[in-house]
């Protein structure tokens, strides 16, 4: 099975393969942040920190223990989630921009600490051996992408997901409805970190080299842009946003030096013309239903109301 896949992968142009994998990792990270920022409404400017923790944990697990990759990824996810819960417990009491700057600060601290630890090889960065698995990395990445999409969709439609949306809508009202706001916030933070950690582990093993400086503020901003561009709280949106923004630097490569210039300009233009994101307030199912000439179900309408509420609520917190 592994050999066959390896052969199959061999037919694909390695350059396109790399873009394809980058898109996959982008989707995983964006979905993780979407749980925290899109679903629960907690602005995080430090998502790359969890990716960093995941990448280094996973790399060290492979180097020191050489365990099977699936177990490695799971363990990485749980360790990252544990760190997030530990950090989240005190800082999630903060609201709005105070929380945002705290997550940003946490990310900077993680970066500096990793730059000074021996186990992460300080500023030199870490070479990561290939993963202990038969299946080729690109396939692993996309299996995880699909798993993540399925899990996040289930969460969206679960009791847990509805509680998170209630927290996003209005914390006080949610509390009055018997929702333990702090607990749900920490859980969503840990869940987002779990996904980011797994994404980081995949990134580390696909790239083969990681450096703490790769996971700085700009990386966090990258992930946040994907989520906001796609539309907060929309899974389809996160996938589309991550695809566009992961692929954009490659498609803009012909412009060489102007690449980041255009990227910056694009972000501004996209926000001006689609301020609520590409899929803001709507979902894939809804579009399909509409195309089939059916009215969206009551639930879809409720969800739209909910996201509108959170949008207007955002203005005065």
């Amino acid at each position: 099975m592994g050999d066959f896949l390896q052969q199959l992968i061999g037919y694909i142009n390695p350059y396109y393969l790399q873009i394809f994998v980058n898109i996959g990792i982008g989707i995983i990270l964006a979905l993780g942040l979407n749980v925290v920022t899109g679903l629960t409404g907690q602005l995080s400017l430090g998502h790359a920190a969890f990716m960093s923790i995941g990448a280094f944990t996973s790399a060290v697990l492979t180097i020191k223990l050489g365990m099977p990759f699936s177990i490695n990824l799971l363990l990485t996810g749980f360790i990252t989630a544990a760190v997030a819960a530990l950090i989240g417990l005190p800082i999630l009491r903060l609201t709005g921009d105070y929380l945002a700057i705290c997550t940003l600060g946490f990310a900077e601290i993680v970066k500096v600490v990793f730059l000074n630890l021996d186990i992460t090889n300080r500023a030199l960065g870490l070479s990561v051996p290939s993963a202990n698995t038969e299946i080729p990395m690109p396939v692993v990445v996309w299996i995880v992408v699909l798993l993540t999409i399925v899990c996040v969709t289930c969460i969206h439609n679960s009791r847990f997901g509805r509680a998170l949306m209630a927290v996003r809508g209005d914390e006080i009202a949610a509390e009055a409805m018997g929702i333990n706001v702090t607990r749900y916030k920490v859980q969503s933070f840990a869940l987002g970190a779990f996904i980011a950690g797994v994404g980081g582990g995949l990134y580390a093993h696909f790239m083969g080299y990681i450096n703490p400086s790769d996971f700085g503020f700009l990386k966090s901003v990258d992930i946040l842009s994907m989520v906001v561009l796609g539309g907060l709280g929309s899974i389809t949106g996160s996938v589309i946003g991550a695809t566009i923004l992961s692929a954009a630097p490659e498609f803009l490569r012909f412009m060489a030096n102007y690449r980041m210039l255009v990227y910056g300009g694009l972000l501004v233009c996209m926000m001006i013309f689609r301020p609520n994101g590409l899929m803001g307030g709507t979902s894939f199912t809804e579009i399909v239903l509409r195309a089939l000439g059916r009215k969206p179900r009551l639930k879809a309408i409720m969800e739209q109301k909910n996201s509108e509420l959170s949008r207007s609520g955002n203005g005065d917190t």
């Binding site: 005190p90 945002a100 705290c102 600490v113 906001v228 980041m260 972000l267 609520n276 203005g315």
Partner: protein, 291 residues
């Protein structure tokens, strides 16, 4: 030793404070974290550099030129990238600001190259003054003096002039201010102009202090200044000054105690710790939640 480090810290801290003021004023009025602010500071440093190196003007004239250029730049950015988004969610405006920031820093990299550049020698004659055991350079004194003058002028503008009154009214309640006949758009433009001018002054001073101006200097300085603004209580002008000074002094102290490789983390560690004790910053207004 202590006095020496204190002066070093205050000099560094007053430049943080100058940048932080821009963050805090803009936030106070339209609750936007203006991530492009660090880039304006970088542009200010470059304009000052070119004014002294190419136009060969006096240091103070160079700083004024930088302030005017950045004022216009700040107003222009607000008009292009933020005003169309004023009615939409704050996150969209935030991403737009980040886009502007990426745009400006890559533009600077393209135009001026990736290497750090220094100010021409003799722009400001640096002398060392010895007070007791401390060696203080005239440059540090200049930085502290200019920052103090600028901050006092800012306090004057905000509290004693008509436009300052309009600014305070707008930050109190945007809609009511508009109903009272205040030209809110003009006030916002003015706020951006003021903040950008202060950032430009900070850029020129820091460029001179470290003798290095580079396209990516805005990122870390911007983040730290933002941290300073939040530390003091975002939206509060004295808070930004206090936060900037505090961060500058602790950072220098941290380096003096031998944590120099952790330098960039110190500011954020302090910030996180303070916020945990006082969730709205040192001088921030208490948020009252109404049900």
């Amino acid at each position: 030793m202590f006095f020496q480090q204190l002066i070093n810290g205050i000099a560094l801290g007053s430049t943080y404070a100058l940048i932080a003021l821009g963050y805090t004023m803009v936030y106070g009025i339209i609750t936007l974290i203006n991530f492009a602010h660090g880039e304006i500071y970088m542009v200010g440093a470059f304009v000052g550099l070119f004014a002294t190196a190419i136009l060969k003007v006096n240091f103070f004239v160079a700083m004024l030129i930088a302030m005017v250029v950045c004022m216009l730049l700040g107003m222009f950015i607000e008009r292009i990238a933020y005003r169309p988004l004023r009615k939409s969610s704050r996150l969209s405006a935030l991403i737009s600001a980040i886009g502007v920031s990426i745009f400006l820093s890559s533009l600077a990299q393209m135009l001026f190259g990736a290497n750090a550049k220094g100010y021409p020698e003799g722009v400001f004659p640096v002398k060392q003054i010895t007070i007791g055991s401390a060696e203080i350079s005239t440059l540090q004194l200049l930085i502290i003096a200019i920052s103090a003058i600028l901050m006092i002028s800012l306090e004057f503008i905000v509290h004693k002039t008509k436009i300052g009154k309009a600014m305070r009214a707008t930050s109190e309640d945007y809609n009511t201010a508009a109903l009272m006949g205040i030209n809110v758009n003009m006030v916002i433009s003015f706020t951006f102009a003021l903040g950008s001018a202060l950032a430009a002054a900070g850029g020129v001073l820091v460029g001179l202090l470290f003798n290095a101006v580079s396209f990516n200097m805005g990122l870390m300085a911007g983040l730290k200044a933002f941290a300073a603004a939040v530390l003091g209580g975002i939206g509060s002008i004295p808070g930004a000054m206090l936060g900037g000074l505090l961060l500058g002094v602790t950072e220098v102290a941290g380096v003096a105690f031998g944590f120099s490789s952790y330098r960039d983390a110190i500011a954020f560690a302090i910030l996180v710790l303070v916020l945990l004790v006082k969730p709205t910053g040192l001088l921030g207004r208490k948020i009252q939640k109404k049900v």
